[in-house]
């Protein structure tokens, strides 16, 4: 009895990759086993002085964090002495630069949410598909060509993306939606999505790649095709790594500044329409910074309070992403 096409060995065995060439793998957290002793007892005064200087340098990173938190808190506390926290969270108007001042952060937050959501709608599916294509489907040669080009995309300054959004994407979209405003959340969000895409693609690809080859072999042995193996075995196995890359993308989108400051406008309004000018949290900080705001005024404190909001938001996202990556590593290392 011959079954036509009965043995679908469509999953090619993947060639061994010289991966470190393209992107250095993230280092494992575990300390490398080392010599128990640093050679000759390094007890001389010079040796100890050098070690102290090096240790001092490494505390600078902690000082940076202390500095960021200190500066933000100092001005934020001063801000909330004037403006009640309740108003800050519930007011639906944002007019700190007008005589009749309102401080409803929700106005800026909604704009940040809108542009980030559009960006993620572009970056997450495209980035994940790119990662699957490069890691599981493409030939080694194609992968070696495409990956550096994507890295190039990640290296383009954000102000250039802003230019592209305002003077290329918006006119292009207005061709189809003539009533759309020249400054809008849509083109800012779309371009931001393209900007974040390399981040999602590269981190997800790392996660897919570190799935043990044994799982793929097992899937092929059960008769899975290449695509089935990728979608039903490798992607679920790399799930927490992929989610970690998604969360990092959210954090990037929320903190992104120049694209939205240039292409989305500086008109704070509470709306989820992607076709009108809006102002995100980051764009507000830029707007105030461009004017000469004297120290100690309420306007000056506003940007630090908005900064604090932004900092807390991205910190939570980053910590969540790191926790997921750690869990993922423990499973496979």
């Amino acid at each position: 009895m011959d079954l036509p096409d009965a043995a679908p060995v469509s999953g090619r065995i993947r060639p061994a990759r010289t991966r470190a060439v393209l992107a250095p793998r993230p280092a494992s957290n575990a300390a490398r086993p080392r010599l128990p002793l640093g050679g000759r007892p390094s007890g001389t005064a010079k040796e100890r002085a050098i070690e102290a200087v090096l240790a001092l340098c490494s505390t600078l990173s902690i000082l940076t964090t202390v500095g960021i938190v200190g500066v933000l808190l100092f001005e934020t506390v001063a801000f909330f002495r004037t403006v009640p926290l309740w108003d800050f969270l519930t007011d639906t108007e944002w007019t700190p630069l007008f005589p009749d001042k309102h401080f409803g952060i929700i106005v800026l937050a909604s704009a940040t949410f809108l542009t980030s959501a559009i960006a993620l709608l572009v970056a997450l599916p495209t980035g994940l598909l790119t990662a699957i294509f490069l890691s599981e489907l493409a030939s080694e040669r194609l992968r070696r060509t495409v990956k550096p080009i994507l890295e190039l995309l990640a290296g383009i300054p954000t102000v250039v993306y802003g230019y592209f959004a305002l003077l290329f994407v918006t006119p292009l979209l207005q061709h189809f939606l003539p009533w759309m405003s020249g400054l809008n959340g849509l083109s800012a969000g779309l371009v931001m999505g393209i900007m974040i895409l390399p981040l999602v693609a590269s981190l997800s690809e790392d996660a897919l790649y570190s799935v043990p080859q044994g799982l793929r072999d097992a899937a092929y042995a059960l008769g899975a095709s290449r695509v089935q193996c990728a979608v039903r075995v490798v992607v679920p196995a790399a799930f927490s790594g992929i989610v970690a890359s998604f969360i990092l993308a959210v954090s990037r989108a929320v903190g992104e500044t120049m694209v939205v400051a240039i292409a989305a406008g500086q008109t704070p309004q509470l709306t989820l329409s992607p076709f009108v000018p809006i102002e995100t949290m980051t764009a507000f900080i830029v707007q105030v910074s461009l004017g000469d705001t004297p120290t100690g005024t309420l306007e000056y404190r506003t940007i630090f309070t908005v900064g604090t909001t932004l900092f807390c938001l991205t910190l939570v996202l980053n910590l969540a992403s790191q926790a997921l990556v750690r869990r993922f590593r423990q499973r496979y290392d």
């Binding site: 390094s42 592209f164 900064g307």
Partner: protein, 304 residues
């Protein structure tokens, strides 16, 4: 035999369906991959198309002006170079020292090491505009007697803190790649720890460290938001002196000049922005090329 025939037929049909579905997925994935490449091409072509006509020697050597046809990027270009050199001078030694301490000295799992590691990982994820607020609060306001306010020194300090996590992470990778046998050989010859680090480990890790540093500096050159936030000027019609006093002078950089031109309504200024972008991208491309050359040299070293 006959009873299996329908099974075979069903199986063949199922396989055909699967093949079609697989093909659709592969095409979708390939399309997704090409989106990034297409946008990159569109961006580069758009910028060159808009700006190439404005590029000239006069554009590179003129100060900004209210008349778009006479405006140039001299002060921005010089400011970017200043910022680049100063940032490198601050971030490189401190970043490498931190990496050396974490990789060569404090190699056990102490709480101090753990704290610094978590801290660096989090700093790498802080939005760049927050560093601008840090620079504004500390380097521009508190340390004004030293930095002179919104000066190139304050900007470089801010940028150095911004790229420090990248430098540290890259330098640690480079140090990790140095084989332990080299260190042991050094110790066997009676070298002290610092002698091993300075004469054996650092020289063999130097191309890796430089590659990472150059990429980090490329990021600093392209950053706009933190410098705008800490209040770098958008209109500078002079060059800073080459002296300590010059460090305290106001400055502007290429991305800020580009941002300024984009924000104006006249299309002539947009043309200037595109031309400035070409110069900026060329600068970044040159830095990336340098990093690639170093990386290749490093590979050859490892292979031999």
């Amino acid at each position: 035999m006959k009873s299996f025939a329908h099974l075979t037929r069903e199986h063949a049909a199922w396989l055909a369906r699967r093949r079609r579905r697989d093909a659709v997925f592969v095409v979708a994935a390939a399309l997704a991959t090409s989106i990034g490449l297409l946008v990159l091409a569109a961006l580069v072509i758009d910028v060159i198309h808009d700006g190439a006509g404005r590029l000239s020697w006069a554009f590179l050597t003129s100060f900004p002006s209210r008349r778009p046809a006479q405006a140039g990027i001299l002060s921005a270009l010089v400011g970017s170079c200043w910022l680049l050199v100063l940032t490198a001078l601050i971030a490189f030694p401190i970043g490498v020292a931190t990496a050396v301490y974490l990789e060569e000295y404090d190699t056990t799992e102490t709480w101090f090491r753990r704290l610094i590691e978590v801290n660096i990982a989090n700093l790498a994820g802080v939005p760049s505009i927050i560093y601008g607020l840090l620079g504004l609060g500390i380097f521009v306001r508190v340390l004004e007697p030293i930095t002179g306010g919104r000066s190139v020194l304050a900007g470089a300090l801010t940028m150095a803190l911004l790229v420090m996590p990248i430098v540290i992470i890259a330098a640690r990778e480079a140090l990790k790649a140095v084989p332990d046998g080299l260190r042991q050989a050094g110790y066997a010859l009676g070298a002290t720890r610092w002698q091993v680090v300075s004469r054996i480990v650092l020289p063999s890790a130097v191309s890796g460290i430089l590659t990472g540093t150059i990429l980090a500096l490329a990021r600093a050159v392209g950053e706009t938001a933190p410098l705008v936030t800490m209040g770098a000027l958008t209109y500078v019609a002079f060059l800073p002196e080459l002296s300590l006093e010059g460090l305290r002078a106001p400055f502007t950089v290429l991305p800020i000049q580009i941002f300024n031109w984009i924000s104006r309504p006249q299309p002539e200024f947009h043309q200037n922005a595109a031309a400035g972008t070409i110069v900026l991208l060329a600068l970044l491309l040159a830095m990336n090329a340098l990093a690639i050359v170093l990386r290749l040299r490093l590979q050859r070293q490892r292979e031999s």
